[in-house]
Symmetry: D2
Subunit: 394 residues, 4 copies
């Protein structure tokens, strides 16, 4: 799961990294009321308190219980309450019933975090084997992924509430940042190196480095803007089956989709929900919260297409990215030579390699430093609650 | 909706009654953590905070807004957030999405209660027409119904939580009270007066008083006990289609039903969840949390039947009741001459008169003084989260 | 299941009756193409070949196998293929998968009928005990019920086909017969005898004769016409929640219901599908193919109500009936003293006594002589494929 | 949709080809009873009569109506009755309601075929532009695809029938043909040409010829046998979540999957349904009727993997194929430069390029000469009614 030759991190640096990542999670919680930690409005959105507890559980279950002598678990019941998809680790609370659980309380979950953190600090001061240290780094990257989920899940919880609560005004500037000016750039075909090259941490799905042959292609320097997407809507894009995948068309009609998630028609004017509440749609900002189906239909309407993940990676040095996760036209599949790790951590990535599409880049709620050009994010093609956007290719 | 000739209640008594009922709701809330107010694990179970707010909403929407001059609403958005089934009163939050809403907070909902209560006390001190006073009494009876729902909904929320939290030890003695000794008593047939006779409050579905002809019948003085129900289980009652209604049999098989709700198999021993947590099943206590289908199958197994609601009412002076709501074999239908009230309160009862069965009596969580021998409770035949039991007839 | 003292039927008469009923089934089949025997477009509609085989199966399974010495079954597999709801008789083909079966062929099913009929004629010539003769009469009444189902199921199969095939012109005159002129008639209250009185055959659900007390009521001599129902539509009846049961309102909205089944909007004009194909709606004919929810909402709109089944029976001598099954506001429940027969025939009626409403009268496709004033038909409140109509009461 | 430079086919050859393909469809129908043409037991399985009519409809709708002067359509209603997914061509009968239609009859559908064939023969004798000729060839390849669907759909219809009818004994020898002996062969990595090279007909999804870089890999000369698959079952493969994709594991548990489709446990012995009826499982025959999930879990259990479609194509000259469609680990996505054709035929392939996996090879029911090494078949990962098998790679 981790890169084959991660750079050595000193004990002091590891401790500091642990502190930084764990503290950031707690900082994200500050604006919340206790009630906000509980709901699970749809199966894909976890209750915030579950996200908070689950990342702690990872350190307890994968590290302390296995490698810290005499470690005493905080609460035996948390083993299955905060397990996610790790079937190896006993029974788990069914994923669509996480929102039914009012207990343990938020207070108790923060006690749990504190307890595990204290044990971890002692543990990190001891002499650790490299593979254990790698596991700690994996745990911190795992926590960063859940920081992003925490934020997107919370946006969904607030976004379906008729009161449209404000979470924070801090994100607004970057949520509505204007797209760069930019044009299509030409890339000459040939054989490219794809995948992680071994310096520092990566997830197992980025391995191994391998060659991919690409034809000539061109890719746009900037993301599709709200203005362009509004033109698509006004041109009847949601009503023209020729632009859509067959399953995308079914999805549009069955769910009455006619605009991005979080866009609302308020007395005839389109507005959007952001972390700062209901507000105007900034025409120059990159369009956000769209499904793969919508991204693909828009590209078709524009006479373009979505890049493959390989094209994206090959060209990634030529444009700015990180404002929106960018749907590619690549299915999430293993790279040549992909091997699952033994044991529970082996469930991390491989088992999801079906029916999902790859997204590249990163978003305004991706923790700083978490993503990289070889990073492979993946979601089902109908999902929209992530900060997803469009980059065109031809 | 209310009885045609309710007894006059003095202004002082009405104010005292209002205080008593409203305070009791708040007393029920004392053991809760804030998180407990939020979940809605199934559509029939409302979040506790919704129950708390909805009863307040009734006084604001039905009384203060219509009859209190210059009343200023607490929050315009609460009109649709805490509306239940009253289609007359604008858009409402869909019943199965109440658990998605973390806001308004519990704190704000208690502020809402306080605000409305203060306005109500001033209002109750003014000179009120009789029909307005009747509406206040209706509102208090409505709140008592939601006190019972608050308790049964909370039991469900705690009962599906693997931690099986304790709510209170206060209910245990009555939850497990032994059934009276008792035998079948014979009732001679003839014409009986059924329905409310006009002294004090009643719901509109208890009207009008009318005659029903009954054959001779016998009815048991006591409720079916856990011991008897366990015999039914051990005799294979859940596996013998001949005992069941056709739709009951489908329900049993599709849901894998094999014991009452809240009964668990703990390492081979049957235990039950009560407000005091997981504990033993008291053999002499009346069986509880069973569906109409189960009640009916048990009666068939016993060579008996369930009484009709008319038999129950005619015989109700001859036995003790109030420990469990008792399923009858009567469908919930209007009495002769039933008339819906005009306006939103007309939605109270009549629109539910299809596909539900009548329960008579009352339960250990029915507020004291709320029920009476003419009271008609009603639920769909598969539901089990109320304190429902069995009285046999032949 | 049969009346306690059916009139003696002579052996000759029984044989003749058998011939008449069985031949009528085959006459109904004459206009069909082989393909028409196969589809099951919704779970409630059985494939015509299933209806044909199932009635034959009743005689084989309930009579010949039990009472005819040395009877050799036609095909062992038919035992579960053509069983309906008789759980006592082994595994059955799931009710919603009857339309999956192309085999046995129609030809083979008619051979089955011929084989069983030949055995039955020999059997009927032998000396039969009264209870066996009663069972034969039950089988014939059962076949008559399936003759009506055959016709209503076929109407559904043709009615959803965009080609709107013609079955027969023979039914048209009675499908569109004008309602009688008529007015409300007053019935004085008191105690009435309800249920079958013992002369001839009846189903077990019509027993026992018992007394019911009724208030004064009035009931209309004629059925509601298409003209009146069209006024209800034009007045916005389908859009006014106040007229509907809560579950009826959900049904209307979820299914987009806005007119009776088989009514179509053809270029702005309302037309209807009958056995004679698409045609005009006869304004004076009784409205047909409506659900209980619609019947009830119409009555509410008219300031009236539906009669109870007891009122209907008490008044049935005062008006003509038999053109439409008439929804009553009575739930399908057992009469006092109702007892299920032992064995498989005991499954005939009692197990359906939940969540269904009683219809009284008969329809244009009820076999002549099959119904009577005590006859209790029953369906779920949302179903519309029977010939159902409305008689008003107040 | 067709290859860029198809070989010229002479008018005589085209006419002969037309005759051969159309006649083969009719030959496949010979063993059927009329009833067999009607059912649609699941949405993916079309009624045989629909397959028969739909292929005819293609020639009428795409060719005769557009290019044959004065062509008079056989029946206007067939336009939407036998349209499949071609949204461009007006309203269509919803895909999951095809089995509801008893009319038009089988007889009429064969008259339709005869009518269109006669017009086509006249048309083929005229002087046709190359693109029209290409469209005829496309129609014939389309018909061949539906010949295979006809056979697999019929197998499903017979396979769910408790009578397990015999279709034909002709297929048995090839259904149970023994797998070749064989071992893994090593392929050296490098850049390979993938896709159709322009000689003759191909579908648009095989274009354009492009380069793919592959690492070294090895691939097995033979398919996985029933014997090996039985070992997987006996080793508990269906119960070990570690072998499965997350969605595959959900599929296994929700559907109670524990063996290939058409395998039955008959009194403790595993048997299979083939076109020749119920019979033994031939241990040396290649396993068949398994989903992608099962193929992938088996490969994982074996310590191998499925090949990509590119590996398969690159190595396809080194092994025999054509007995089973072989699941690859490639998602169905467009090749570089893929362009949809204008108009209705543009809906042929591109709109399905999401959520499906590629299968390569061909099967015992693929019409002779229809497949080729560049042919890309595709299905959703849970589907099993095609003749699907496993080839291992490492």
């Amino acid at each position: 799961m981790q890169g084959s030759h991660p750079k050595r991190v000193s004990p002091e640096d590891l401790r500091e990294l642990y502190l930084a990542v764990r503290s950031y999670t707690e900082k994200l919680c500050e604006p919340l009321e206790i009630e906000d930690y509980v709901p699970q409005p749809v199966v894909d959105v976890s209750p915030p308190k579950w996200n908070i507890a689950h990342t702690t559980w990872f350190f307890e279950e994968m590290i302390l219980k296995n490698f810290s002598q005499d470690y005493k678990v905080f609460d035996e019941s948390f083993r299955f309450l905060f397990n996610s998809y790790y079937n190896s680790v006993g029974e788990r609370t069914l994923r669509d019933h996480r929102g039914d659980l009012s207990r343990p309380t938020v207070k108790r979950i923060f006690e749990y975090r504190k307890y595990v953190d204290e044990k971890m600090y002692v543990f990190l001061d001891s002499d650790l084997a490299q593979d254990v240290r790698d596991l700690v780094i994996l745990g911190l990257n795992h926590e960063q992924q859940h920081q992003e989920l925490f934020l997107t899940d919370l946006k969904y919880i607030f976004g379906v509430n008729p009161l449209f609560p404000v979470y924070s005004n801090d994100f607004l500037p970057i949520e509505v940042t204007e797209s760069e000016q930019g044009d299509f750039i030409e890339i000459n075909g040939g054989t490219f190196d794809i995948g992680f090259d071994g310096g520092g941490f990566c997830f197992d799905n980025e391995l191994a480095l391998h060659k991919v042959f690409l034809n000539d292609f061109s890719i746009c320097e900037r993301l599709v803007s709200n203005r362009e997407y509004t033109e698509f809507i006004e041109d009847g894009g949601y009503g023209d089956f020729r632009l859509w995948h067959s399953e995308g068309w079914d999805w549009v009609r069955q769910n009455g989709i006619e605009k991005p998630l979080y866009w609302h028609d308020l007395n005839g004017e389109l507005v959007q929900y952001t972390y700062a509440g209901l507000g105007k749609i900034w025409p120059n900002a990159p369009v956000c919260h769209i499904s793969f189906y919508e991204a693909s239909a828009f590209a078709e309407w524009k006479g373009c297409r979505l890049p493959t993940e390989f094209e994206w990676e090959a060209a990634s040095g030529r444009f700015r990215w990180g404002l929106r996760w960018e749907w590619t036209n690549s299915a999430y599949l293993p790279y040549p030579g992909f091997k699952k790790a033994a044991g529970a951590v082996g469930e991390y990535n491989g088992k999801f390699m079906i029916n999902q599409m790859v997204l590249r880049g990163g978003s305004v709620v991706t923790p700083p430093g978490h993503s990289r050009k070889t990073y492979r994010n993946f979601f089902h093609p109908h999902l929209r609650w992530q900060f997803t956007g469009i980059r065109l290719a031809t």
